[in-house]
């Protein structure tokens, strides 16, 4: 994945820093609540929402279980429609392909539609090092790019910035902005002026795709601002970089996703613009179309029968907006372009659990289940989180020569819980401790790993008489 996130600390430390950012906390609390409410309202309008979710899930299951079949069908149809299909095993290969394709046009500038996949592979940086300038054209991506910042939300990448910060950034970085004010409408107008010339002269456009239809070879991009249409329509060459999991079997299947996605994502019945195209069209749009199919960890993810459901994801970001952890830490703490609950299950699978950030992500959740409840393709995120926790624990056990303190504690707990006599004995010891602190009141601050608890919370003292002692005394 993009090197931009390299060097991030594991989640707990990154979260601590984010939690102290008052502006971030306020922006996030307001923004997530707004989208949550909008989503809930438009979802309530559809009496068949649950049936749509189930169909959305089942279609993804069908696709993933037969992905090789659908990829070949897709390749054949795209090629038949005049497009060229390229395959990339990893980020570096995808970047090489795209760089070469741009170089072959002789251009040094490209316009880009917001795309998670190209962020994931760090395409802009790769193009930059080949002397090619990539202009992000989505407003939020533009804000992130101009600020040399990182995206913090799938749908609203600049959710962590407020209007005053954006105004200052535009005044500093954008010649067309002048003395722009802080009203979102003024800022959007400045972005329009800034990008207009770039769109009109662009010869190469780069996009991702929300869906690829195997049956017809059709690509779909869902957007709001019209920057997508500009990039997909005006340039002579269009390059779309798309993960292999984005395939859906048939054109009809879009009737499910085009209902699920906008309502889950922006909380609209339909987003302002959706573009679909199949290969190239005489007299309308680009004269050459390249589709780069990206693996980059997706086939590894597919190999795990529990974990593979994460590939159902249609990048709506509903799970971020309902997640109580995300709402407080924001996206950067997840150390990946995929933040929030879906990021916590996707990043460690796409990148592997070799790094400290990825090992910390499956634990960045209370397992409250709010994400699963809203997921339009029914990814059981808590199930995958727990599954990945087990993977991290097992790998840690294999890597270390001696068990971690946590593993020892868990083993001790297993030993105690494996016998009621041991549990009763442990309770007697605990009660002694309880009596000791109990006579002085509650438990204030504790040392060691429990300090994390008692820093801000009192701890209860163990009871003087356990329930089982009481039962034996009164019911035997």
């Amino acid at each position: 994945m993009s090197s931009a996130f390299l060097g991030m600390p594991p989640f707990p430390q990154a979260a601590r820093r984010a939690l102290a950012d008052t502006q971030l906390r306020r922006n996030l609390a307001g923004a997530t609540r707004t989208i949550r409410d909008k989503r809930a309202e438009v979802v309530r309008e559809l009496p068949d929402w649950e049936e749509l979710r189930e169909a959305g899930r089942a279609l993804k299951e069908r696709t993933l279980r037969h992905l090789d079949h659908y990829l070949l069908q897709l390749e054949e149809r795209v090629t038949a429609a005049g497009g060229q299909v390229h395959w990339a095993r990893d980020a570096a290969e995808a970047n090489r392909i795209v760089t070469r394709l741009v170089q072959e046009t002789g251009e040094h500038e490209v316009v880009k539609v917001k795309s998670m996949t190209t962020q994931e592979i760090g395409l802009n940086e790769a193009l930059g090092s080949a002397g090619i300038t990539a202009y992000e054209t989505d407003l939020a991506e533009l804000i992130v790019q101009l600020g040399e910042d990182l995206p913090s939300h799938i749908l609203v990448p600049a959710i962590h910035r407020n209007r005053a910060e954006i105004r200052d950034l535009f005044r500093r970085e954008m010649a067309e902005a002048g003395e722009v004010g802080d009203e979102p409408a003024e800022l959007a107008e400045a972005a329009r002026r800034h990008l207009r010339r770039k769109f009109l002269r662009a010869k190469v456009g780069i996009s991702g795709a929300n869906f690829l239809v195997a049956e017809t070879g059709t690509a779909v991009v869902v957007e709001s601002e019209g920057n997508g249409r500009m990039c997909l329509t005006l340039p002579e060459t269009l390059i779309s970089v798309v993960g292999i999991e984005k395939v859906v079997p048939t054109w009809q299947d879009l009737e499910v996703y085009l209902q699920l996605l906008p309502r889950s994502s922006t909380g609209e019945r339909m987003n302002p613009y959706t573009s679909t195209w199949t290969g190239i069209e005489d007299g309308d749009g680009p004269r050459s179309f390249h589709l780069v199919l990206l693996d980059a960890g997706r086939s590894d993810t597919l190999a795990d029968p529990i974990g593979r459901q994460a590939l159902n994801c249609i990048r709506c970001s509903a799970c971020l907006n309902v997640c109580p952890v995300y709402e407080r830490t924001g996206g950067h703490a997840y150390g990946s372009v995929y933040p929030g609950p879906i990021g916590a299950v996707l990043s460690p699978q796409l990148r592997g659990t070799g790094g400290a950030v990825d090992r910390s992500l499956p634990f960045a959740s209370t397992l409250c289940g709010a994400c699963y409840e809203v997921c339009p393709v029914k990814i059981d995120i808590p199930e995958v989180l727990v599954h990945l926790r087990a993977r991290v624990v097992e790998e840690t056990g294999e890597r270390r020569r001696t068990p971690s303190p946590e593993a020892l504690a868990m083993r001790a707990a297993r030993w105690v819980f494996s016998s009621p006599a041991r549990l009763a004995a442990a309770q007697r010891v605990a009660a002694l401790g309880g009596r000791a602190v109990g006579s002085r009141g509650r438990v204030g601050r504790l040392p060691g790993p429990l300090a994390g608890w008692t820093d801000a919370r009192d701890a209860p003292a163990p009871a003087r008489e356990s329930f089982r002692q009481w039962w034996k005394r009164t019911h035997r």
């Binding site: 707004t34 068949d48 049936e51 749509l52 189930e54 169909a55 089942a58 279609l59 279980r65 037969h66 992905l67 659908y70 990829l71 429609a81 390229h86 395959w87 095993r89 054209t137 407003l139 939020a140 804000i143 609203v156 910035r161 209007r163 954006i166 979102p184 409408a185 959007a188 972005a191 009109l200 239809v213 601002e225 019209g226 249409r229 500009m230 329509t233 005006l234 292999i244 079997p249 054109w251 009809q252 879009l254 009737e255 085009l258 906008p262 922006t266 609209e268 019945r269 339909m270 302002p272 613009y273 573009s275 679909t276 069209e281 007299g283 749009g285 693996d295 086939s299 590894d300 190999a303």
Partner: protein, 215 residues
């Protein structure tokens, strides 16, 4: 290149070792219990008024006009915008553009360059279909619609469609469309909510969208 293709396909097949060999895609059950709209067809009037309400919700202005009024309404709307140059794509119904001053009418012959399109004040088109529930217009490049850039670069878009083109639901619309040609689904003027989630109508696409439903 083919090495990458072969390797990815091999990885995918290896990853799916748990899928039994005889299983075919159709063996994975997909329950389509959701509404398709075909089961409970609404009347034209109902459908059109829902469409009008929903599209207006996004900040587009929509109104119904009679066939006889259409030509004058088109001319009136464009005049109210002060549009001096109006792009009228090929095979736009003649009666609907009959009241436009001849000097204002511009065709997309050539075709126009992106800069030419940018200099046009407005575009008037037909549509392929419309979806009531979501307030969506669908353009497929058919007669009177022009190519995609024609409805994108000009800042004002007037769209004229016939009432019977409005279907109730997304599934109904998709079943009528041909995916092999490029399609654009338009639900209101372009918009962004990227700054503090405050919705701003009008970014890169046409900032004004007006729709006339002829019935």
């Amino acid at each position: 290149m083919n090495a990458a293709r072969d390797e990815i396909l091999a990885r995918v097949r290896a990853a799916l070792a748990d899928v039994p060999e005889p299983e075919r895609p159709a063996d994975v059950p997909v329950a389509r219990q959701y509404a398709t709209g075909a089961d409970a067809p609404a009347g034209v009037q109902e459908t059109v008024s829902l469409f009008v309400e929903r599209l207006a919700d996004y900040g587009a202005s929509v109104r119904t006009v009679s066939p006889a009024q259409t030509g004058t309404e088109v001319a009136k709307t464009l005049a109210s915008w002060g549009a001096e140059q109006v792009l009228v794509p090929r095979r736009f119904p003649a009666p609907w553009s009959a009241h436009l001053p001849a000097a204002a009418v511009l065709g997309d012959e050539g075709p126009l360059s992106a800069d030419d399109l940018d200099a046009v004040d407005a575009v008037v088109t037909t549509a392929a279909a419309a979806i009531a529930v979501t307030g969506t217009l669908v353009l497929d490049g058919g007669p009177g619609q022009g190519r995609r850039a024609a409805t994108l670069v000009p800042d004002r878009h007037l769209c004229v469609l016939r009432a019977e083109q409005v279907v109730a639901s997304v599934p109904e619309a998709l079943s009528r469309l041909d995916p092999l040609g490029p399609l654009t689904f338009v639900s209101g003027p372009s918009a962004t909510s990227d700054i503090e989630l405050e919705r701003v109508a009008g970014v890169h696409g046409p900032r004004t969208l007006e729709v006339l439903v002829v019935r």
